[in-house]
Subunit: 200 residues, 4 copies
């Protein structure tokens, strides 16, 4: 057995490790919602930006998990590229709780929204790298090729919408976050509207 070819069995341990890290990332974010020591509904209500930021980030990380889950299905060998692009993705996702805490703490200010949107682009880069690795070294059957063709196209469209959100944040943070939300809905759907457009 060469180092770079452990097969499907090894790919599953990488999946399990990724699941562990993502499960922790998604859960520790909730620790930023500190229960207020003072009684009264107004102190609970004051937490709405922290809660909204948490819910948005939870949805984003969950979407990454779902797509990671689908894509790893086609990984058939553990190469160095697979290990390190996956580790880079997990590193990028591990920065999400920080950006989320900052966004909630600073009540969706322009600077906080820019930091949040910038941080949210890092996992997208790592994901693209990972997808390239799996496309080259993973399953090559028709289903795999079809999957990659559709998601690469989807990723490209998502990046365009997302990138448009950056200048729009200077107009209003809510426009930027709106773009982020469109991208989330886009990935949430199993098939993108583009598929119909391209006849898939």
């Amino acid at each position: 057995m060469s180092d770079g070819a452990e097969g499907r069995e090894g790919a599953k341990r990488v999946e399990a490790f990724s699941d562990g890290v993502i499960a922790i990332i998604v859960t520790i974010m909730v620790l930023e919602m500190h229960a207020p020591e003072e009684a009264g509904l107004e102190h609970l209500w004051a937490l709405w930006p922290v809660f909204t930021a948490y819910a948005l980030s939870y949805a984003y990380v969950a979407i990454y998990w779902v797509n990671h889950h689908r894509m790893f299905h086609y990984a058939s060998r553990v190469t160095n590229g697979l290990l390190w692009s996956n580790i880079a993705l997990l590193f990028a996702l591990s920065l999400v709780p920080f950006a989320t805490a900052y966004l909630g703490m600073h009540h969706f200010s322009r600077d906080a929204t820019l930091l949040y949107m910038g941080t949210m682009m890092l996992p997208a880069f790592a994901y693209t790298w990972l997808q390239g690795v799996i496309r080259r070294t993973g399953a090559q059957d028709e289903a795999a090729q079809d999957y990659h063709r559709r998601t690469v196209r989807k990723g490209f469209a998502a990046t365009l919408v997302y990138a448009a959100g950056i200048p729009l944040t200077f107009v209003s943070p809510w426009l930027g976050l709106g773009c982020a939300l469109i991208v989330a809905v886009f990935w949430f759907l199993p098939k993108s509207p583009l598929d119909a457009l391209f006849g898939d």
Copy 2:
């Protein structure tokens, strides 16, 4: 392979991810029990509301895990509905540590009990959604149908008792928490008293 049909193998990765998130939720709650810096038994004793709230929530989340464990046995395909109802359930459960901390911190006050009981209803809604998905897309043999018939009936009765707890909390928080405890015991038992009533 279509996106929505990974079979039993894929369902197991969803189970494993859920187990990871639930394991973290159940464990980070204990972090709210801060060890008192002052010596003396009275400072330890003062922690009883935090400890009681922790024990109650631990039992609740454990019951969700046990029932999730049993129900996922009948999931045989990874559909989008399965993924997102499951992610919604985990999101709802991730709010439990917050409500628990608030309940312990505010010594089972009426407001804290209402927040706690309200938060505890969210995973119930998500669980009902998830069960509907598994009922439609999972195993269809007699054991599965029997399982779903019994647990849907049980869930309905549990919701009635639980809902009765909300107005009772206005009389006394302990009455509300008593209803929550009855529901916990109800789910703790593998077979509900209703089964005898309905002749199952």
Copy 3:
């Protein structure tokens, strides 16, 4: 399939969940070792009670994990007893970080040592319950019976030594912790000295 008989497959999910919870318990304890903000070796040195308490508890929880690992090998059915005795064990272990923080914070004072030793007895009770369940409902071959006979005997001897530590703590906390250490070494060894005594 009846609720209480999922077989070896189900037992493995219970094992995996337990591993997740134990992994988190063992790791979050290290969060109690707060890095001192002041420079200087004396501030690091002042952490020795916290570090010692962490190392001791890490060893204890690791020993539970190793023995849980060995014993679960003989579990062959997921009964309600198995689920709930296992959940009780995980609950008892989840209290260890609290008692450890208290022990380190109060520099092995008599009260803190008593709390620590009392907390450490809770998982022992739950473990005994779990072992009884596995003995009754798990594998019944000769290897399993031999395993249970040897470990029940070991558990009994360990409990005697441990119980002796409680009054000795009133003489000096170090005597109590010494008893705890003897028990740890006792379980650390795969075969106890008692085996030779009884001719196994």
Copy 4:
């Protein structure tokens, strides 16, 4: 079945538990990056030492995970030596978040760098112990022997470079961290430059 011979199946549970602990270690480190409450880029910028320390430690722990992943492939029996050397490795790695927090908090001061580099040597010792156990009790085929010969050689060279970093830290912390970085790159590569030197 004797206690010390559970075979490949048991080795996989040890792997899964290790993955869980490593996933938590790698993720909780990010909690040290507290989001600043004050607005303004200068407060974000002030976090660079904490961020750099986090990124370096993340890379180190990830490298341990990757190599652990590769080496455990050759473990074929769960012996006591395997369990305890592995638990020692996880204990040593669990100290990394503390040393990382200290390094970031004290802005790469000489003392903090020495503590960090000293802490980083502990997992190396435990890893060497674990590798010795797997070499003796694991797979003995040619691929396994080749793997061990190459990595032991690599480990020896890495230790030399790393040890040179300790005195160099007294000259400048950056020289010490530079040595740590060389070792990281060394392990990052699947095949070391030494292989060419020795004709492998």
